[in-house]
Symmetry: C2
Subunit: 225 residues, 2 copies
DNA sequence: CTGTATCCATGGCGATACTG
DNA sequence: CAGTATCGCCATGGATACAG
């Protein structure tokens, strides 16, 4: 938080916000994370020490409020001041969606993808009973190749080991393609036609799957002509 | 521009934008600067080497276009992609205005203030003939104590040495007060009443002066209750 | 679960001078 | 006017291990 020596409100805002990871922590809080380890999971490459430091700074400037429950477990929430960063983050995301489309392989993190899908799954569209979708990213190393998404009632869970339930649908593709589908960079129909995606299971399930999974919020952002 | 290893568009946007000074260079371009030295003047504490580096990066990612004229003089302009950062910068400024109100003495740069006033003076409100306003910041060291704003026709100029013209109005105050008036943090009437501001000259001129000078764009942002 | 504690390397950035 | 060149620091932040 080195000062810019300017009274301009943009400069004053950036003194707080332009430090590495800061906006991503805020984004994570906006997405609903409140626990230290949830924030870590949303930013896996951030060291815990740095996360602590950022949270302290954000607390000091009034963006975040830290609360400890009776058991001593900490949680973090956005204050009204922090909540007002939402339009900023939305605009940033929309701009990034429109103009920073190129993704490097290092941007393709299966944990982040699955975690992001899980947390925004439109539960109300899924069948009542337990429904299990298995993702297989053929291009990934064994440890992160297979993922199971289990939806039941009003809960969605993910595992990276076979939970043993009957699988209703299997999705076979590359991590990049799945990320692109999630971001709305490509359509399911196109990926299927290009045979970069295969969906196994009853055709009724296969047909509904795209809607069941949904897309990341920013997928709706119109792209430049 | 170290990568975050995330496909999230907010993260991709921040890879470009969270480097120190970057947004302020963009803000300066949005305010109308196009020359290297104009950009420097808008960010006086930034080293020229770093400005070059930032401009190169912004050019590479497509935010800025560099053009050389016949004489070899460079100018920088926002591309459509860069222009679309305007809502981001506006939101950032609005947030900074609302929530980062405390200004340190090191934020009070008279050059930036006068330069900012000069470039947004509402010329059409001023008298036809030459009009000269002299600012005196009693709390500042001799070198930056006095400033002359000369408006004539469709041009506004500033000097830090007496240009020798007859002065139509004199403004005597502290730099902090003048900054606060400019930012809309206080009203002229309040500062006058508190005797932290004195305006010398014909009463008709003194009455019009606040309108002649105007306020920074973000001054209109409503403050938190 | 929620952090601390270290350690280390790097490279970002500030400062200054200089040039075609 | 529009940058280069150089230098050196120190703070940032990455990695890892450990603790209440």
């Amino acid at each position: 938080m080195t000062a810019y020596g300017q009274f301009c409100p943009v400069a004053k805002a950036m003194e707080v916000l332009d430090e590495r990871w800061t906006i991503l922590v805020v984004r994570e809080l906006m997405a609903g994370s409140t626990r230290f380890n949830e924030l870590r999971r949303g930013n896996p490459k951030m060291s815990p020490a740095l996360l602590t430091k950022r949270l302290r700074t954000l607390e000091r400037v009034g963006v975040v409020q830290r609360v400890e429950d009776a058991a001593g477990r900490a949680s973090y929430r956005l204050t009204p001041c922090g909540e007002e960063l939402r339009p900023v983050v939305e605009q940033l995301g929309a701009w990034g969606m429109r103009w920073i489309g190129e993704l490097g392989v290092e941007d393709l993190d299966p944990h982040l993808l699955i975690w992001d899908i899980r947390r925004t799954v439109p539960l109300e569209l899924w069948p009542r009973g337990r429904t299990v979708v298995c993702f297989r990213f053929g291009d990934q190393p064994p440890r992160t190749q297979q993922w199971w998404l289990c939806v039941q009632g009003d809960e969605a869970d993910v595992c990276d080991v076979d939970p043993g339930f009957a699988v209703d649908a299997g999705v076979e593709t590359t991590l990049r393609t799945m990320v692109e589908l999630w971001r709305g960079d490509r359509r399911w129909s196109d990926a299927l036609r290009a045979e970069e995606l295969r969906v196994d299971g009853p055709s009724s399930v296969a047909r509904e799957l795209p809607r069941w999974l949904g897309q990341m919020t920013f997928a709706a952002v119109p792209r430049p002509a």
